[in-house]
C-alpha cells in the first residue's frame, strides 16, 4: 500500500489539475491490476462496506495511543477528520512489510466475520505495521469516507492517458453495477463485453447554470426549452427483457420505484430514456416533499405508494432498438422520443416532458417566471443540433433556474467548521423576528469568502454570550441574506419550517437587525410554496 499512500500524498500535495492527472496516470501504469481496479472503484464512489464502527475506532485508537477518550475527542474536534486524527495520535512507526491495496481491502472486508475482540486486535496490529501516511489511507478505507481530491472525471482522464482508450468511451465503461469483486480490470476497462452488463447506464449529460439572460446564445430558433423538474434525474433502461432505473448519482434505484415494472408493457426492449422521476398524480407533478418520502426507502409501503406514486417525465432518448443514439442531434432524438411515447395511456409510468415552445428569448423569460407555480425549478435549454455528451460541459446545454427564495435573517449561534475550516466559525444558526423574540429557523455554512469567515470568527470569539459544547451564542447583530430552494412544514423545528439548500448569499452589513424578516413572512412563504 506504500505506492497507494504515495499516490494519495501526491494528489493531496498539489492543487494543479495536470499534476494530479499525471500522478494518477503514473499509478495506473505501474500498480498491480487489482489495485488499479480498487482505485477506480474508490474514486468512483464504490467503497468497501464498513466493517468497524467509528465509535470503536475512536476507543481503540485512544487506547493504543495511551490517551483518555475525551482528549482523543477534543483532538478530533480540532482536526475534523477521524482517519487523520487516529493517524496523528498513534505512536510513530516506520511501517513494516508492504502489502497491496487489494490485499488490505480484502482483509478489511473479512473483518465482518470476526468477533469484536479479534477485530480490535487485527486493527491495532495493522496500525502498528503501517507508517503514518499509510495509516491515514488505511483509516480512510476502514471508515469508508474516501475522498482523494480527484473527481471521477479527472480519474477517467488519467485512466485514458494510461491506457490510450478514448475518455468518453472509458466514462461509459466505468458506469454501472460493478464492484471489484464482480469484475476484473481486463473485463471492465480493457476489453468489456457489452452483453455482460445489460444494466449499464450511459454517462449523464449535465449542464451549467446560465448566468444572466440567454440572449448571448444566439438565434432562439436553434434551441429547445423544457421544464427543469424538481425530482430525481434518472435513466430508465429496458434491455434483455428486464428494466433498470439509475439515479444521476449512479445508484441503482429499480427496487425503490416498483411502478416502473410496468414500463415493459409500454416500451420495447432496447430502450434507454433520460428523464426525471417525480411523484405524480393525475398527470401533474406533486411537490418535491412528496417524493422525498420515497427517497432512501428500500421498500415502499402500500400507503405511500398510493400517496406518492412515482412516474418519469422523459427528456431524451439515448438508445432505441438497442442502438446507441447519443451521436444523433437532439432534434432527432427528441422526435424519436415523442414518437415512442405518443399514444401511451395517462397511467403509463413514463410520459413526455413537454417542450416549452417559444419564439423570442423575451417570451422564454416570461415563461420561466411561471416555473415555481408549475413546480419546476426553471428551464433547460438544449441546442437542437447537439449530440448527447456525458459530463458537465459548456455550450450545448444550459440550466436556467428560477431565482432562489431570499430572506434576511440574523445570526444567533456559531459553531466551528470541520476539515478545511476546522479553525473558523463557519456554521451559523439564523433567526427571524417574532414580535420581541428571535426564532431560529435554519442553519447555513456556505456562501461567504474565507476573509469574511475570518472576520466573523474574530467577532464571535470576542462576543460569545454563552457556550453550549461547541456552539456559541452570540448577540443578534449581523444580518445575512439567506437563499434557499424550497420550504416545507416541519413540526420538529421551533419555527415550524424547514428549508432546502439554505446558504448565505450576502453579509448585509448595511441592514440593521430591526429590519430582518419576520416569522410571519416565512409562514406566508410556506403557505404559498410549501
Amino acid at each position: 500500500m506504500k505506492d497507494f499512500a504515495a499516490l494519495f500524498a501526491a494528489l493531496d500535495g498539489t492543487t494543479r489539475t495536470n499534476a494530479k492527472v499525471a500522478a494518477l496516470a503514473g499509478y495506473f501504469e505501474t500498480a498491480p491490476e487489482a489495485d488499479r481496479l480498487w482505485t477506480i472503484a474508490l474514486l468512483s464512489g464504490r467503497r468497501p462496506k464498513r466493517t468497524v464502527t467509528a465509535t470503536r475506532l475512536r476507543e481503540w485508537a485512544a487506547e493504543a495511543a495511551g490517551l483518555p477518550l475525551w482528549l482523543f475527542e477534543e483532538s478530533y474536534a480540532v482536526v475534523g477528520d477521524l482517519a487523520e486524527t487516529i493517524a496523528l495520535v498513534l505512536p510513530e512507526s516506520d511501517g513494516g512489510a508492504d502489502r497491496s491495496l487489494a490485499a488490505w481491502i480484502g482483509d478489511i472486508r473479512a473483518l465482518s466475520a470476526l468477533e469484536e475482540p479479534a477485530r480490535r486486535d487485527w486493527v491495532v496490529a495493522a496500525w502498528e505495521s503501517l507508517a503514518t501516511d499509510e495509516r491515514f489511507v488505511f483509516n480512510k478505507l476502514l471508515t469508508g469516507g474516501f475522498r482523494m481530491g480527484v473527481s471521477r472525471k479527472l480519474m477517467t482522464r488519467a485512466l485514458a492517458q494510461a491506457t490510450g482508450i478514448d475518455e468518453a468511451e472509458l466514462a461509459h465503461r466505468l458506469m454501472g453495477d460493478w464492484s471489484p469483486e464482480t469484475t476484473s480490470y481486463e473485463a471492465l476497462v480493457l476489453a468489456p463485453d457489452p452483453s455482460a452488463d445489460l444494466s449499464k447506464p450511459y454517462p449523464f449529460a449535465l449542464a451549467y447554470q446560465l448566468d444572466g439572460v440567454p440572449d448571448d446564445l444566439g438565434d432562439p430558433g436553434g434551441w429547445a426549452a423544457e421544464w427543469k423538474w424538481d425530482g430525481i434525474r434518472g435513466q430508465l433502461i429496458l434491455r434483455g427483457g428486464v428494466h433498470h432505473l439509475w439515479s444521476r448519482g449512479e445508484e441503482l434505484i429499480t427496487d425503490r420505484f416498483p411502478e416502473f415494472l410496468r414500463a415493459r408493457d409500454f416500451l420495447p426492449d432496447g430502450t434507454v430514456i433520460d428523464g426525471e422521476v417525480l411523484a405524480m398524480k393525475g398527470g401533474a407533478p406533486l411537490p418535491f416533499n412528496a417524493l422525498q418520502k420515497r427517497i432512501g426507502r428500500k421498500t415502499v409501503p402500500k400507503k405511500l405508494l398510493a400517496e406518492a406514486p412515482a412516474a418519469m417525465l422523459a427528456y431524451d432518448l439515448l438508445e432505441a432498438g438497442g442502438e446507441d443514439l447519443r451521436d444523433a442531434p437532439y432534434r432527432d432524438r427528441r422526435a424519436r422520443l415523442e414518437g415512442l411515447l405518443a399514444g401511451l395511456p395517462p397511467d403509463a409510468p413514463v410520459g413526455l416532458s413537454e417542450a416549452v415552445p417559444f419564439v423570442t428569448w423575451t417570451d422564454l423569460a416570461a415563461l420561466r417566471a411561471t416555473s415555481r407555480a408549475r413546480l419546476a425549478e426553471g428551464l433547460m435549454l438544449k441546442r437542437l443540433g447537439s449530440p448527447y455528451r456525458g459530463g458537465r460541459r459548456k455550450g450545448d446545454w444550459w440550466k436556467w433556474k428560477v431565482d432562489p427564495f431570499s430572506i434576511d435573517a440574523v445570526m444567533i449561534y456559531a459553531q466551528a467548521g470541520h476539515g478545511r475550516r476546522a479553525n473558523l466559525f463557519t456554521d451559523f444558526t439564523f433567526a427571524v423576528r417574532d414580535g420581541e423574540n428571535f426564532v431560529p429557523f435554519t442553519k447555513a455554512y456556505s456562501g461567504l469568502t474565507d476573509a469574511e469567515f475570518r472576520e466573523i470568527t474574530a467577532w464571535v470569539r470576542k462576543n460569545t454570550l454563552e457556550r453550549y459544547g461547541p456552539v456559541r451564542a452570540v448577540p443578534p447583530v449581523h444580518v445575512f441574506e439567506i437563499h434557499f430552494e424550497g420550504i416545507q412544514a416541519s413540526p420538529r423545528h421551533k419555527s415550524g419550517v424547514a428549508l432546502r439548500f439554505p446558504r448565505m448569499a450576502r453579509w448585509r452589513r448595511d441592514k440593521p437587525v430591526a429590519e430582518v424578516d419576520t416569522l410571519g413572512h416565512l409562514r406566508d412563504m410556506l403557505a404559498t410554496y410549501g
Binding site: 498539489t14 492543487t15 483532538s75 480540532v78 482536526v79 477528520d81 487523520e84 476539515g419
Partner: protein, 338 residues
C-alpha cells in the same frame, strides 16, 4: 504556597516583589522580555531588559528604547526578586524568565521549543515551583519530526520544483523560522532569494554574529528568469499577494506547525505544507513541564482548556491564564504563529 511570586494583570504577568512585568501588552515602567516577536516585545515601555541575542532585533523593530541586556544564566536582583534568563530554544536569543522571591521559584516559559534546531540556543529545563507555559500545540495530534528529516523533505521539494523549471517559494515568519529554514536548505540546489522583511532580519542577525548562508534580496528589479532554480523565502502574507506574482508558476509551500492538520494545510491553497514549528509539540510540552518539577502549572495561549484538563489528570495543579499573546492565532495560523 502563599502569595504568588507572579500575578496576572490586565497589563501582563507582574512581579510585585520586583515591580516589573514580563512581556507586558500595555505600556509599563519596567518590562522583562522573553524574545523579540511582536506579541511579546511591544513598544511603549519605559525600560526593557532582554538577552543580548534578543536586543538587536528589538532595537531594529522598536527603534530607540531604553534597553539593558543580561546574559543567560546571570542573575540580577530587582527589588526583592532574583531574575535570570534561560534558553527557550524558540528563536535566537529567546529566553525563559526565572524569578525567585524568598526561595520560591516561578518560571515563565515565553514561547519555547524543546528540540534543538542548530540555530537557537537549545532549550534548557529550569527547576521551578510554578511554571507558566504556553501551549500553542497542546494536543496530542501535534508531533514534530526530526530536523534532519524535515530538511531532507524540504530539499527534495526544492529539487523537484527546480527539475520542473519552477521557482520554489516557501512562506515562513520573518524572525526565527526563516533563519532556521536557511540553515536547513541545501545551497547546492540553487540560489536562495529572500523577501525584504526577512532579509532585514537576516542583516540584523548576521551583524550580531549569527552565521547564515548567502541570500539575495528580492527588489522591484528582481526578475525570476535571472535566478533559475531558486528558492524564494517569503513572509506568509507575501506568499498570497501580488508580490509573489513576480515568480510565475512558483511551487508554493508553507512552513508551520499548523500544517500538521490536513484541513488547515488545504485551506492555505499552497502546494505543500511543511510541519515545522518554533513551538513545542505535545511531547515537548509534557517533557518540559515534567523537567521543571513544578507542581503548579499555568497554561496560556493555545489549547488551554484541553491542556489544563490533561495536566490535572496527570496530577498537576493546573490553571488557565488569559494573556494577549498571539499563540492561538487560529485565523491565519501561518502568519501569526509567533
Amino acid at each position: 504556597m502563599g502569595k504568588g511570586v507572579l500575578t496576572f494583570t490586565d497589563r501582563g504577568i507582574y512581579c510585585p516583589a520586583g515591580d516589573f512585568y514580563i512581556d507586558p501588552w500595555r505600556p509599563v515602567d519596567r518590562a522583562v522580555i522573553t524574545h523579540a516577536h511582536a506579541d511579546h516585545a511591544r513598544p511603549g515601555h519605559a525600560r526593557y531588559l532582554a538577552t543580548p541575542g534578543t536586543a538587536p532585533v528589538m532595537r531594529h523593530r522598536l527603534g530607540e528604547i531604553a534597553l539593558e541586556t543580561q546574559a543567560y544564566g546571570e542573575t540580577r536582583t530587582i527589588g526583592d526578586a532574583h531574575v535570570s534568563f534561560h534558553p527557550a530554544g524558540h528563536v535566537p536569543g529567546s529566553a525563559q524568565v526565572r524569578v525567585e522571591v524568598g526561595g520560591e521559584v516561578w518560571v515563565v516559559s515565553g514561547d519555547y521549543k524543546t528540540e534543538a534546531d542548530g540555530l537557537s540556543e537549545p532549550f534548557e529545563p529550569v527547576r521551578a515551583h510554578a511554571f507558566i507555559t504556553e501551549c500553542t500545540f497542546g494536543l496530542p495530534v501535534f508531533r514534530w519530526r526530526s530536523e534532519a528529516a524535515l530538511a531532507a523533505e524540504i530539499n527534495r521539494w526544492w529539487a523537484s520544483a527546480r527539475a520542473d523549471g519552477r521557482p520554489a517559494m516557501l512562506g515562513a515568519y520573518a524572525l526565527g523560522k526563516a533563519q532556521r529554514l536557511l540553515t536547513m536548505l541545501d545551497g547546492t540546489i540553487g540560489p536562495i532569494l529572500t523577501h525584504g522583511a526577512i532579509e532585514n532580519t537576516n542583516a540584523v542577525l548576521r551583524a550580531s554574529g549569527l552565521a547564515l548562508p548567502d541570500t539575495i534580496r528580492v527588489t522591484p528589479e528582481t526578475k525570476a528568469k535571472d535566478h533559475s532554480g531558486a528558492l524564494v523565502l517569503a513572509t506568509p502574507s507575501a506568499l498570497g499577494s501580488t508580490w509573489a506574482g513576480r515568480f510565475p508558476r512558483a511551487s508554493k509551500a508553507f512552513a508551520s506547525g499548523w500544517m500538521a492538520v490536513r484541513g488547515i494545510r488545504r485551506r492555505r491553497a499552497a502546494d505543500k505544507g511543511f510541519v515545522i514549528s518554533d513551538h513545542a509539540d505535545w511531547a515537548g510540552l509534557n517533557a518540559a513541564i515534567a523537567a521543571t518539577g513544578a507542581e503548579r502549572v499555568f497554561v496560556t495561549h493555545g489549547y488551554t482548556a484541553q491542556f489544563r484538563r490533561w495536566l490535572e489528570a496527570e496530577g498537576y495543579d493546573a490553571e488557565i491564564v488569559e494573556t494577549e499573546f498571539d499563540g492561538e492565532a487560529l485565523d491565519s495560523p501561518a502568519e501569526d504563529e509567533t
